[in-house]
Symmetry: C2
Amino acid sequence: MGRWQPNARGRLLEAAMELFAERGYEQTTVGEIAKRAGLTERTFFRHYADKREVLFGGAQEMRELFTRTLAGLPASAGPMEAVGATLAAVAEGFRDRHAFARHRQALIAANAELRERELIKLADLSATVAGALRERGVGEPAASLAAEAAIAVFRVAFERWTRSPGTRELGLYMEESLVELKAVTAGA
Amino acid sequence: MGRWQPNARGRLLEAAMELFAERGYEQTTVGEIAKRAGLTERTFFRHYADKREVLFGGAQEMRELFTRTLAGLPASAGPMEAVGATLAAVAEGFRDRHAFARHRQALIAANAELRERELIKLADLSATVAGALRERGVGEPAASLAAEAAIAVFRVAFERWTRSPGTRELGLYMEESLVELKAVTAGA
C-alpha cells in the first residue's frame, strides 16, 4: 500500500470485467476485484468511488475527448460537422475494444441501476456537447438539438456495433447512423 | 375507505403538487398527501406505487397517446411525418397545463433521483416509438433514429416551453424544434 501501482486503474477494470463474467455483476464485491488485480481495497477506492463506477470510468475521458475535438475544429465548421468529427474521434477511442464494449453493454442491459447510470452519463454528455457548441457561437435550440442528435447517433450506432460480430469499425456505424438520421429528418 | 372516490387520482396529484410547493418534495410524506386530498394512505397506494410516481403518472397515458396516434396514421406517412403528428398530439395533451408542467420540471431538475426516473421514462418512450415505427414497416436504424429524434425534439421543446411565460402553446415549440433539427442535420 502506498507504493505506486503501475496501471492500477486498468488492472482493476480488467479484474472486474473477468469477475463480472464469471460470477455476475451483483455477486462480485470490491474486495474480490482488488484481490484479483493483486491490489488492496484502499487502492480500488483511490481509482473508483464504487463497483458501479468501474463500468463508467471512461465517461470523464469521453467528455474531455468531446470538448477537445470540438475546440480543435475551425470556426467555420457547422454544428453537425462538429458533431460528426466528435463522433469519429469517439469511435477511434473504441478501436480494438469491441469485446470490452460488448461485455459492458450486456452488463448494463441486464441491470436497472446500471441502465439509469448510463442514461445519466449520456444526458450529461449531451449537456456538455450543447455547452461546447454554444461556445462556438451556435444558438439555441440548434445547439441542444445538435447535441441530442449526436447522442442519438452515438447510442444507436454503439448498440448496433456491440451487437455485431465486431468485424466492422464503430466509426462506420456512426457514419451510417448520421447519414440515416439526416435522411429521416429530411422527410419531416 | 372502500367507497368510490371521485377523481381520487387527480385530487392526490393536486394535493401533492401543493405540498411539494409549500414544503419541498423531500419533506412531503405520502400520509400528508393523502390527508390534504381528504383520502386515506390506502387509497393513495391504489393509485400510485410511491411518492415519486405521482410526478410520473402521465407516462403511461403518453405512451398510449403515442401508440394510438401512430396507429391512426395512413400507411403512406413517413417516419418523421409520424413523429411530427405524435408530437402534435402530445402538445395538445399539455394545453392549459403550463403551470403544472413548469412546477413539475422544477421539481425534477432539483432532485437527482427524479432526474433519473425522467430519463428512464423518456428512454422507454423512445423504445415504444421505435417499436411502433418498426410495426409500420420502418427499418432499422431509421426507426430508432426517428424515435430518438422525436424524444430530442420533445425534450428540447418541452424545456423551452416550461421556461417560457406560457403565452405560446407547446405545439409551436415542438414545430420550431422539429424544423430546427431538420436544418441542423441537413448541414451534416
